[in-house]
């Protein structure tokens, strides 16, 4: 079975038990030291040139055995498009936001949302997606978005933002609206450029940080809006939220995403109990992937499969020192389970 069909049939809910193993990109980038250092001169070109970005995505897939292509390799594109300064890093350091754009309620950014495809590195990501879609039709291309709350917390120090959530709710609503409009436009453009799937990573919106009331008040509608707009462009969606998400599980299915991806902190069983048949993705320990043995990783993969995961993936952002061999240990273990069960 082709990788694309395996992932899309799983995400659409058409079939269970296909067990694709993927690493979406974005906050869950699989650019590891070996892939980065292979062409260390190519950095930061991998973040700013579409052909190099595409090439890196291919190298990652080859080195790790993950069954998808995923771009970009950071969580800074949207913030940069809104005016934030970004330090692009190098072969082993991911791009970082260099300083918060906003330090009070008075500095809401202005963005030409109608032409998102022109801003910052947005065109780079879109071109890389098109390139990969055309050249590799059998492989699913996953585009990535930074979720509304996480984007807001890249523009303004969360130490401030979280206080405004209690003390100046209209401001936070306006900021989140600006963020989700930016993300929705970028997501639509990714789908139009050829992304089969768009994954929205929103670690700041974790249940253990916000709790169900604030999540419902500020985040839920935004996520759903972004998901719907992407769906209208005929791409599928994944929502990823880190940390302990137990307190918000009952709210998450109404985001209408095709799948929910989560951290090792919440057990697959716990999630399954709350969300029923929803397609679940995750949650192999990134600590094991970074420092565990191949057999410990394989055991972890088998365990999450036994617990009922539909799509195997890392639990959260990978450590930059994670060896490609360890990622391969994961993907090989999943394929081994697949051949044992389906004889394919």
């Amino acid at each position: 079975m082709e990788d694309k069909a395996r992932l899309l049939d799983t995400l659409s809910g058409r079939q269970k038990g296909l067990l694709p193993v993927v690493c979406p990109g974005g906050m869950m980038s699989a650019v590891c030291r070996e892939v980065g250092l292979k062409n260390s001169d190519a950095w930061p070109d991998g973040h700013i040139k579409p052909d190099v970005m595409a090439q890196v995505a291919l190298e990652i897939m080859e080195a790790t055995g993950f069954e998808n292509l995923g771009v970009p390799f950071c969580v800074t594109v949207e913030a940069e498009a809104l005016g934030a300064k970004v330090d692009l890093g190098d072969a082993t350091v991911e791009p970082q936001i260099a300083g918060y754009l906003m330090n009070s309620q008075r500095s809401l950014p202005r963005l030409d949302i109608n032409h998102i495809e022109r801003n910052g590195r947005v065109p780079v990501v879109l071109d890389a997606i098109s390139y990969l879609k055309q050249r590799h039709p059998g492989v699913p291309v996953i585009g990535n978005l930074t979720g509304p709350m996480s984007l807001a917390a890249s523009l303004m120090d969360p130490n401030l933002l979280f206080r405004y959530m209690v003390k100046d709710k209209p401001f936070v609503r306006e900021l989140i609206a600006c963020c989700s409009e930016t993300i929705a436009a970028f997501g639509e453009a990714q789908a139009k450029a050829g992304a089969d799937v768009v994954s929205i990573g929103d670690p700041t919106a974790s249940g253990e940080i916000l709790g169900p009331e604030l999540f419902e008040e500020f985040e839920l509608d935004s996520l759903r809006t972004v998901v719907r707009r992407i769906r209208r462009q005929n791409a599928m969606t994944i929502v990823h939220i880190c940390g302990n998400v137990e307190s918000i599980l009952r709210l998450l299915p109404s985001t209408e995403a095709n799948a929910f991806s989560f951290d090792a902190k919440t057990a697959v069983r716990t999630v399954r109990e709350q969300v029923g048949n929803w397609v679940l993705m995750g949650n192999v320990s990134t600590y094991l992937l970074a420092w565990g043995s191949a057999s410990a990783i394989a055991n972890n993969a088998r365990r999450v499969i036994n617990e009922g995961i539909d799509i195997v993936s890392p639990a959260c952002g990978l450590a930059t020192g994670t060896a490609a061999a360890n990622m391969r240990a994961l993907t090989d273990a999943v394929r081994k389970v697949r051949s044992a069960t389906e004889g394919s």
Binding site: F162, R163, L210, T286, Y287, C316, G317, A319, G321
Partner: protein, 222 residues
Amino acid sequence: MSDQSVNEEAILKELANSVVSLNEDRAASLSREAVERGVDAYKAISEGLARGMETIGEGYEKGIYYVPDLLVAADAMYAGINVLRPHFDEQRSRDSHAGCGVIGVIEGDTHDIGKNLVMIMLEAAGFRMVDLGRDVPPRRFVEAAAKEGADVICISSLITTAMPTMEDVISALKTEGIREKVKVMVGGACVSPAFAKKIGADAYAHNAAAAVRTARLMLKNA
């Protein structure tokens, strides 16, 4: 009970409530009132404002309050403390400290909300805390602990990448010959009890409220 002590008890309760109701202005005005009424300033903090913070901490553990509430409650507590601070006996407060802690986010990581919450809760519990901030090299933890005579070093890390560097703090303590003099507590989203044990930390705390219990326990057994 005398009128005086009934009044004092009432003010202490109100101080606690101002924090629980996240009311910065009220915490400050009640603190001024406490001073006027001759309530002991240190008591107004430890049995008033800080009690309120403890209640918030308990609620946080139960899933009633979340991070934004904690931050705003802390603002109320500190608004009151700032009013009261000029009025209390520094020496007495130093003597009454539950302990001294050095706290920071490990090098390679800049996520500091969790660390800020732990610091707030430990200060509310009577610890003198020295905040090293974020992206802190291992040596700085050790130097600060030695300089301040700290009882505990609290190290936070949110991201997997930064975790191994936490172990370097413990190695550096050993190199300096002061490993036995200070307890090490670790925490953060990616950290686990197993990891804490692996690197030779004394304890792991899974949130800010747990950090207070753990710190108290560690120092009791020290």
